[in-house]
Subunit: 131 residues, 2 copies
Amino acid sequence: MNYSINEVANKFDLSVHTLRFYDKEGLMPFIGRDKSGNRVFTDTDLNWVAMVCCLKDTGMSIKEIKQYADWCMEGMQTIDERKEMLAAHRKQVLKQIENLKKNIELIDSKIAVYDNPELAQKLYGSLDKQQ
Amino acid sequence: MNYSINEVANKFDLSVHTLRFYDKEGLMPFIGRDKSGNRVFTDTDLNWVAMVCCLKDTGMSIKEIKQYADWCMEGMQTIDERKEMLAAHRKQVLKQIENLKKNIELIDSKIAVYDNPELAQKLYGSLDKQQ
DNA sequence: ATAGAGCTTCGAGTTAACTCTAGGTCAAGG
DNA sequence: CCTTGACCTAGAGTTAACTCGAAGCTCTAT
């Protein structure tokens, strides 16, 4: 099955601008063209776009994603680099999750104070504007 | 206990530039000054800075954090708005965590393919560059 | 009294990641 | 044949969040 840039944009909730921008930045070196020069996305390409979105949504920069794409283009001899990059990124994403969880605790304690203002006395000694 | 802008910057791993920028943007309307005009942070102020960092690190924009700070300045009659904002933000952070978890699964499956290239055959029918 | 450290403001510059515009090609339908 | 719509490129513009530089106070120690 083949897809136009518009269809891909809709599927991934990106703008066509963004997809072309990613292509221009070298994040999609595999995408083919039809006889009149329009991009043609295959199902395999959709998997690739999904991976790019995954990396982007987990905070990887476009520069790094391009490095990954470049390694993919170089073939099998870069498997180790790619694996290492993904492993490091995975670690970094776990850290993000831990951070978010820790921050939710603070948000929760703030909400608790708003729900029960007497708490503020205990927690802070007083309830001034900053609480 | 009082702290200089430098001490606060070190404590929170921010630059003094960033702290002044936050102040200029209205994120820290409580911070006092000494007789020569220098910012003086109290322990209560540190709690506030921690909250600002928490909101920032969980993806809240400076504009929104400013709204929160403004409401704090207005006093008790904005408790409901603040509580609602934090509750909505909390929900949004949970969504982020879920998203990251989902994305880690894709990263893991990719790593698994690199660890065991035969998998690719099963998953994709072939192991081309894009995998 | 003067040098240096540490603070101040103001405003300009940077970076990442889009986002948009202008002007153009191409294929299908009326 | 001509219009319409979907695509194309190149390059300019935008936005958020810093980041930095210049010029100038003020306190402390030599």
